[in-house]
Subunit: 283 residues, 2 copies
């Protein structure tokens, strides 16, 4: 089966899907994106991603190319056309095509690209079941990490550096030694005292949609939760650690740099929250 992409109003074969070389997304990283997890053909947290999408567009003063009501059938159609049962939907909106010049162009139509792809749900569970390692490194990103922009060069460099260190994810560390977040995920620990900690929202981290859902699930479990910064040292002494993202859902972290987290096995609460997530998303 050949994949289908949605590009500026048309469904096109993925292989031929292209954008103009003067799309500001290509020349300036002048755009935003969202990724929805798809489970059993259903988009998870559809509204939450819409809300964040609107916020990112608004922060960059990019005109919304379509209403949620118009976008919805496209998202569902791209899932259907690509026969995605479990996987993800990727949406990217850029300021549009305009002769290269830094200031915002006038009367430009934003570009929109939507793709979908299948992921093997069983393999994902096996992967998460083993837990992953993270490598800590300096957070080199810009000052507005709360905007989900495609200006992701620092993120991919961090992810690559982590990979080269044998880790799956990078945990980025600010100038005061505190973890901000992962290169494409939010960072969590359960302290020695059993407190669930994740960094408070600010311009320094992305407000994860999965993060929001996990906070809700933690409340349902009546866990003690603190939204605050934590240091690398505190994380290394934690009872558990895990990451959240639309793609990795809740994934246990078993090693931070060279230090095993607790006994080096996926933490029971991280595993429980992943189960909660899958269950709550399915309903």
């Amino acid at each position: 089966m050949s994949r289908i992409a949605y590009v500026n109003g048309a469904y096109v074969p993925h292989r031929q899907a292209c954008v103009h070389i003067e799309d500001r997304g290509y020349q300036f990283a002048d755009g935003i994106y969202e990724v929805w997890a798809v489970q059993n053909g259903k988009l998870i947290d559809r509204e939450g991603h819409f809300t964040r999408m609107d916020r990112s567009l608004s922060e960059l003063q990019i005109t919304k190319p379509m209403s949620h009501a118009s976008l919805m059938p496209v998202l569902h159609e791209i899932v259907r056309k690509n026969r995605v049962k479990d996987g993800l939907v990727y949406l990217q909106i850029t300021r549009g095509v305009s002769p290269r010049d830094h200031p915002f162009p006038k009367n430009v139509r934003p570009s929109i690209v939507i793709t979908a792809k299948s992921l093997n749900a069983q393999k994902a569970e096996q992967f998460a079941g083993k837990g992953v390692a993270v490598a800590t490194m300096r957070d080199e990103r810009w000052a507005r990490c709360d905007i989900k922009s495609v200006s992701l060069l620092p993120n991919i460099l961090a992810k690559q550096a982590a990979k080269e260190k044998g880790a799956y994810e990078a945990w980025m560390v600010d100038q005061t030694g505190m973890v901000t977040e992962g290169s494409s995920s939010n960072a969590w620990i359960i302290t020695k005292d059993g407190v669930l900690v994740t960094r408070n929202l600010s311009t320094e981290i992305l407000g994860g949609i999965t993060r929001e859902r996990v906070l809700m699930l933690a409340a349902e479990r009546q866990l003690t939760v603190k939204e605050r910064a934590f240091s690398v040292a505190e994380a290394k002494e934690a009872r558990e650690a895990f990451m959240t993202s639309s793609i990795n859902l809740v994934t246990p972290i078993i090693r931070i740099d060279e230090k095993a987290v607790a006994d080096g096995k996926p933490g029971p609460m991280a595993c429980a929250l992943r189960k909660d997530y899958l269950q709550s998303a399915a309903t």
Copy 2:
């Protein structure tokens, strides 16, 4: 006349020139660029831009898609095909097309795009002759501004903010109150004592090719030059201020925020250095 672009080995009509939606330049800002000024059909500082291009590619571990020897005829051909006498050549290289995933893909062929466009040299002289205003603002960029990457979202936001304040360029200010550089130019002042000052090279600024040439011209004029940081306050009390870039060459700055620089007219040394630049580039 319709414009022609060079895209991955082919000369194509500019209007139809496109790249794949999964080009990492589009999804991750995973690429670099260079801009050459063209004067009288000649590329200015051809070698300097090549050297910087190589450095940017190397820092990002992107494979060089073509040797300088192979690139050279393409640059000249794109100038010829677009009949550019005075203007610029834009070159962009990205890591290439690969299914979206943060770490570097293996065995991917880098993408290369080259365009050229004419600029009105007479108008450019008139523009520079009047001088421009700059607006200062917080430098929100990432920690590796020495790489000429397309991860330019902070830069365009700064340029737009400057425009909305009635200025032509943004001067970005670090956490210690010192000017780093413009959103697409290097920043210079001539102090009350007649010392030419521009920020020293580091990961915080781009090593401008025009900056290099102007340093050379200043040496020829036996000016006292200091490569060091300067504050907004020092700049506002300066005898002269100007900016340099491949597009704006040497352009006098007559206002910084609400403060006129000296008598609010283009500084004589900035004007002299611009003349020097045009002359030296022509030879």
